[in-house]
Symmetry: C2
Subunit: 473 residues, 2 copies
């Protein structure tokens, strides 16, 4: 792998053949990054231009992320028009902002002009308004207007994700006219999967997929091929709703209409895949107590600050749980085995509740859990809590008796575990459902509430039952 | 919403216009399900056939899930050839298996014949081999061979996900010939986004996207449009790798080749979206201690059994942690405040470790964390642990002093928190990395190891430091 592959291939082959970017596991070869860094320091412009032109934007993004901060900016500057700015959408926000600031509005505006509108919006939306303005000011009026209009749509809306380049045809054309139109128009979108029929005022009439066009003879009227029922989205729809629709109905593109049913853009599946991954990322991180904007390239202090709040909330609930232990100080002193076993009751409840909560959060996110099956699912979770509660009451009870040789302790811990697993199950399912109902994100907030319940119920039931059973008052 | 909409629309409108399936929130209207159930009981075949023909397969799947088990089978039987079997791929595995078993191999084989190969494989792969055989036996030899070949590929491989219907052309044709071929061939795949150039032995030559075809005039040779560098996948590639490639390079379809570079199928983006959602689902559930095959329609006992194992492992680790408390029984008796505060130390460490672990698991899954940045990320996490450790040492220490009026207790709990947050950070990042290295799934196993570390280190450091500080031996 470390051998110098430059010699093995002919000199006129593509640069990437002689100097492969990735090893067989798909990881970037350190030698590759070094060569590029070397070329940047040596100002070897022809070699850099050749590499940058050959790389896919996604690979170019990975290369940028792997370079030192100063080299990143130099690479963009040295390669000029060969540099595809959509590669900057592939790197972390922090890295992108650094680069864009260093480059200055003039250069960025040049790069933005080459992008499809959705990529341009993605690049601009991370910047603050002042920087956006500076860049937009350097664009020709028409391009500026389009981007400004897209940026007016709310964040995470279909309007922000759509591209404004698309092909429209009058519904009374035939297949031949549509094909001739595409052959004669030089400035078509980079990739497209369907064309749209609109009336003179740009009102949506229907979609025609390219495969439908290609199977039909030239005289066939488009009206025969138009799918009027094609699902479309409103520019104000949330991207998560749009992604769910794409997933459900297997779409590759969806027309975006404004409130008057005029076609204003197209959302394509590649943007939707990004949304799906983003949303999965957010839910996973939220359940783990990490803010969704934390990135691998963030500094130690940024990350520590981002995680601090969640830990602070958790500390408060931990003190709340411990204050329950504090209520029973006298009993703990009399029977220290209770102090040793109490965390087990809390922990089993917490884990069972987390299982339920995970399922609930996921089912709410995918809309599998709704008002039509809520009652059944809540009952089922309570029963699952009861079944596993009884199972672990027996196991834990026997283990406690074997350890401390106090039969009553087995009964007490068993009863407490049943209480706590049922309470955890109910908390695990009801809390996310309530949060969803009040329009809070169940993934973000459920965890704290749920483990507070299982800690408090676990300690209270265990020590309360022990007080009664052993007469410890 | 509850008004009877039947009267408002003309009788010749599509049935769904008069009887909408969903309310404005996209949830299925209970009245709709009732009407369908009623029609099933009344054997109102024309109405059922009309509804089933109008519904998208995804909506038909949702309708089936909402019906009572007996009605589901009746609906399929009553609507016969109008029923699209791909709707069965939209429901939970348990529901699908029940229906397929009730229907009998003859009817299922009829339905499978109408499906694209990838949908047929998806329907069959959930069944056990005996049932598969019975159904395959009822198919014409050619269709049976195709499906059997696909089912020979390993589970979760590209070979299982691909459809075997695709369009190939000789590389020496021109645009006009390709278009004429598509116009003249009646049996084209249902949807397609590109066509493929292959030689006489079916060896891959390149891909031609439909938009490239449509922008070009008839005499243009296909050779000018062929993308030879198009990313393709091997039939044995794991679906997760395939999904990552689609996401990275914004593909809508990818040709699948066998070991001799012969084109054997095509994976399309709609299947990949399913894979992405499946994988996100698996990671999320694994982190929450739920097996990935748990479904909302499972019975109480199935679910309780599935979750039991994880809780059992957790119980063992909880006993391990409590045994550390047991080592310090004497100290706990002398100073009961230690018993009250110990869970706080464990809990803060556990939550900080979970944050780190969540980020690590996600970064490993997306390949953002690899050998080239491992050292940097590990160091960063350790530092984040230290920073937040110091912050919470101060907060918790002051709170402990305020509560118990013992200044030394604040110092002890503070030091223990620093130890535990650093230990948790290291465990949270290193354990997933080691699991990934030994080819275990980090999402499934990390949680147990990590919280065991923070429980044990938390209890041990707190009580150990307390013993030294207060001379409690």
């Amino acid at each position: 792998m470390a051998e110098d592959v430059d010699i093995a291939r002919p000199a006129d082959a593509p640069v990437l053949d002689r100097l492969p970017m990735r090893d067989e596991n798909g990881e970037i070869r350190p030698e590759f990054v070094e060569k590029i860094a070397h070329a940047i320091h040596e100002v070897d412009t022809p070699m850099l231009r050749a590499i940058v032109a050959e790389l896919h934007e996604a690979d170019l993004g990975d290369l940028i992320a792997a370079l030192e901060p100063d080299d990143r900016v130099s690479l963009v500057e040295l390669t000029g028009t060969d540099f595809d700015f959509s590669a900057l959408n592939e790197v972390d926000d922090t890295v992108r902002e650094e680069i864009l600031e260093e480059l200055g509005p003039e250069t960025v505006a040049e790069g933005v002009r080459e992008l499809e509108s959705d990529d341009a919006v993605e690049l601009l939306e991370a910047l603050d308004e002042k920087d956006q303005e500076e860049i937009l000011d350097k664009l020709p009026p028409e391009e500026r207007d389009t981007l400004e209009r897209s940026l007016l749509y709310p964040e995470n809306s279909a309007g922000r994700r759509m591209q404004t380049e698309f092909i429209t045809v009058p519904p009374d054309w035939n297949v031949g006219q549509a094909i001739d139109y595409m052959r004669d128009t030089p400035d078509l979108p980079e990739r497209f999967y369907e064309i749209y029929a609109v009336d003179k005022a740009k009102h949506w009439q229907g979609a025609i997929s390219l495969d439908a066009l290609l199977r039909s003879r030239r005289p066939v009227p488009l009206a025969d091929l138009i799918d009027e029922d094609r699902r479309r989205v409103s520019a104000l729809d949330d991207q998560e709703e749009v992604a769910r629709m794409f997933g459900k109905y297997n779409l590759v593109a969806a027309p975006v209409v404004d409130t008057t049913n005029r076609l204003v853009g197209v959302v394509t599946i590649d943007d939707v895949v990004d949304v799906i991954e983003e949303e999965a990322d957010e839910d996973l991180k939220a359940l783990g107590g990490v803010t969704s904007d934390e990135e691998l390239s963030d500094s130690v202090l940024t990350i520590a600050k981002g995680r601090f709040n969640w830990l602070l909330v958790n500390l408060a609930t931990a003190f709340l749980a411990s204050s329950v232990l504090g209520l029973f100080e006298g009993q703990l002193e009399k029977m220290v085995a209770l102090a040793v076993l109490a965390p087990i009751v809390a922990s089993q409840g917490g884990n069972a509740a987390t299982q339920t909560m995970t399922v609930a959060v996921r089912a709410l996110a995918t809309r599998e859990l709704g008002s039509n099956n809520a009652y059944r699912v809540v009952m089922r979770e309570a029963l699952v809590g009861l079944v596993n509660g009884v199972a672990f009451a027996i196991i834990t009870g026997l283990a406690a008796i074997a350890w401390f040789r106090i039969p009553g302790l087995g009964v007490v811990i068993g009863l407490a575990i049943i209480c706590n697993l049922v309470a955890g199950a109910l908390g695990g399912i009801l809390i996310p459902m309530v949060l969803e109902r009040v329009r809070a994100d169940p993934a973000v907030a459920s965890g704290t509430f749920v483990t507070t319940i299982t800690d408090v119920v676990g300690f209270f039931s265990f020590l309360g039952i022990a007080t009664l059973w052993f007469g410890l008052n």
